[in-house]
Symmetry: C2
Subunit: 457 residues, 2 copies
């Protein structure tokens, strides 16, 4: 390990130049105008894997942008880990908000600024460079490593499940380690061990067969907006929590270590409401409860509503129909279909006379992701961070949905955890995305140590 660390130190500037070269490729997966660049980024990863010493390097056809695969099998009796990452990036718009152009990487104040540098080009290069260091200094890795870098993460990974299914034998491993993800705060190491699932549906209420004149019919005809508003209001209690019977079916109390992390975080609710531009009295005035709600509780959020006349001015109409788009964030144990079913049952039981109700589910949804809290590798990773950074990492959850965890579990039958050196404040879906170079260095050391300790675990 000391040799490996020396190699990483001696070659850090090369690593940085590699990262800059990678960031010069505008691999925006959602925009067909960047299709050639996206393939160029895939080829960059493949070449970097080959240079590091990986075998069987290949672009996997997916039906969309290719995924890049490579492997380094040292000894079949050693455990095998699959590293996940993505070479595609978010669109750079709005361009005029960038201090330096998004695809011309710029070093300022110990940070490298470029689109994709933090999400996920910097973090995914780390394990590849670490593998190279082991190969140069020891001729082999302490464990077997497979690498799968996809090119459609920023487009919702539409071909990822099928790709895992097609290549499940080649991708077989003991555990997935994601180089994508992010530490929660810059001032404290953290491990993301849970994220919420998602299910989307639409609720439509119908009254009369067509819009009616509000003068002639006002007071007697069924008003679809009134019925919809009352139904929506019935879905939450006074405290803002979901009040649907059966909504929490299958759930268990959250991991006590995450609650402990929340308590340690001393989160400032007022500062949060300031950041999101809500300059009114804070709806939830203590940080502990706020984080519990964001990380560990399921939600039912109204994403859109429409009905009746929505143009300028006024129109004296009683709307025949009104609808709302809803998504639920799910916690461990909640099944997407069951959640929609209990919400539908709740609404049907409260439907006022004179109306019909439709509930339409959008897609199958995804269950919550969570790392087994007793997973040995998780404890190894936490130990690495504690030793390198001088503080026990927090176990954090995230409110957003990370579908890949559930995908690996489903198609490969393996657990996954996140070991990323991106930080959530690095503006990775906004102008002036950056990556802290100190974390690039720490990440290289941390991955080197992780591989060594996983071999011994």
């Amino acid at each position: 390990m000391s040799n490996v660390q020396s190699y990483l130190d001696a070659h850090f500037n090369e690593a940085l130049e590699d990262l800059k070269a990678f960031c010069r490729i505008p691999s925006v997966s959602t925009d067909p105008a960047f299709a050639e660049d996206t393939v160029a980024a895939a080829n960059f990863v493949a070449e970097r894997l080959q240079r590091a010493g990986f075998a069987s390097v290949e672009l996997l056809e997916t039906g969309g942008h290719p995924a890049v695969y490579g492997e380094l099998i040292s000894d079949t009796t050693l455990p095998t880990f699959l590293v996940y990452g993505h070479y595609d990036v978010q669109p750079p718009d709005p361009l005029e908000k960038w201090v330096t152009p998004p695809f011309e990487p710029d070093e300022r104040d110990g940070r490298l600024y470029a689109r994709g540098v933090s999400d996920d080009k910097g973090p995914l290069l780390i394990p590849i460079i670490v593998a190279e260091a082991y190969m140069k200094m020891a001729g082999r890795l302490p464990v077997n490593l497979k690498v799968l870098i996809e090119g459609e993460e920023e487009s919702g990974s539409p071909h990822f499940d099928a790709t895992l299914q097609t290549h499940r034998e080649r991708l077989a491993c003991d555990l997935v380690i994601s180089a994508d993800g992010a530490m929660w705060r810059p001032d404290r190491p953290s491990m993301t061990v849970a994220s919420r699932g998602l299910v989307a549906f639409e609720v439509t209420v119908d009254g009369a067969s067509k819009d009616l004149h509000s003068g002639r019919h006002g007071g007697s005809a069924p008003n679809a907006i009134a019925a919809l508003a009352a139904l929506l209001t019935s879905l939450h209690g006074e405290d803002g929590r979901v009040s649907v019977e059966g909504f929490l079916d299958g759930t268990s109390p959250p991991d006590a270590r995450i609650i402990a992390a929340i308590e340690a975080a001393d989160f400032d609710a007022s500062a949060y409401y300031g950041e999101i531009g809500s300059n009114k009295p804070d709806p939830i005035d203590n940080g502990r409860e706020l984080l519990i709600r964001q990380w560990l509780e399921p939600t039912l959020e109204f994403n859109g509503i429409s009905g009746g006349y929505q143009g300028r001015g006024t129109k004296t109409v009683i709307p025949a129909t009104a609808s709302a788009k809803i998504t639920c964030r799910l916690v461990a144990g909640q099944e997407p279909d069951h959640v929609v079913a209990v919400v539908k049952r709740h609404l049907e039981a409260r439907l006022p006379r004179g109306f019909a109700l439709k509930v339409h589910q959008h897609g199958p949804g995804s269950s919550a992701f969570f790392v087994d809290p007793d997973l040995p590798a998780l404890k190894v990773a936490e130990g690495v961070l504690a030793d390198l950074l001088g503080r026990e990492p927090l176990r954090v959850a995230m409110g957003a949905t990370i579908p890949i965890g559930a995908s690996f579990r489903k198609h490969l039958g393996t657990e996954a955890f996140f070991f990323s050196f991106s930080t959530s404040d690095e503006d990775y879906h906004a102008p002036n995305e950056f990556f802290r170079l100190a974390n690039f260095r720490i990440g290289l050391t941390a991955w080197a140590l992780l591989l060594e300790r996983l071999a011994a675990a």
Copy 2:
């Protein structure tokens, strides 16, 4: 009067030919493509007034389509009545639903089919023809008559108030009699003695300063749709009535004679819900209460709602803002501004933490219209209908808003009542509008008798 009736009988076919000629002019006021036709209809009315013997016949400039004025002053010691009507018509769309073309009047089964024949060309021709009969047979009218026929009623009468104000001396009268309006049902004579006022406003709720990601922020950030839905729901009670404190300020119990008319009407609520296409259990299952709500109670109806994502599929956004368009129908005693103020106060008191509220009123609104129940001319008119039709007319109210009543009261200081021989089932805003020729005949006799009895009253 017997001479006049003989004249009307002898010249009924000419009257019918006049009405057909009038209906051949497509005077659609809302569509600039018909601008020339609309002026042609104004000229038709002016010529018909001159032929009947009216003096001072003139097209009054309004800034939009002209109004037509004429007068017949028999004796300045007699009372003066102003007849109101409108020569413009609704658009004829959808054309393909007409059995015969809308501007080619067609007699079938005792009805004349044409756009505008019932609203308001037939009814407004009646008093002109009656005046002509008096002039031919007696050389004078039993009362003084002024006639004002506007050309923008179907466009919301945007220049009507200004026209009344400009010409208020010329238009001075003891009472306005509107030839526009409609009997409620074909099987029973009725007088419309009240209609509801109107005020429109928009309610907007703001949470965060921009839409937020529902994964990251779900459960903690303020959801504007949820707050709006709860606020809207708070505006009505369980029985569907408005539950805002102060909403009924200034109102009095309704005219007992209208309640009596409602009870006599034996209205079928189930048939009503069938007609409007609500094939669900009737929200209000007795006809008496339904008519009381439609005619005599104020409403607060949601006309439109919007917020968040409204496109196809789904978007995981927590909307920063949501808004609803609302109109209230008002009864006698309710002031539009006061109604908006008490609704605003109600909403502000219930605004959840974390949100801001805006209430924007659209225009000044209009108060309810109602005829003084003791107006002598109203009783004269009721007596005419009772004598001619063999049954006491019902005193009915209408849910929709008739701004002209309030306009005449405001600018001329005179009361108004409706004496129309249109019937509310004559499809006047739909394809195949028709006018019952029996009512054309009855209307001629009734107006002749009305003028004679008003002179004696």
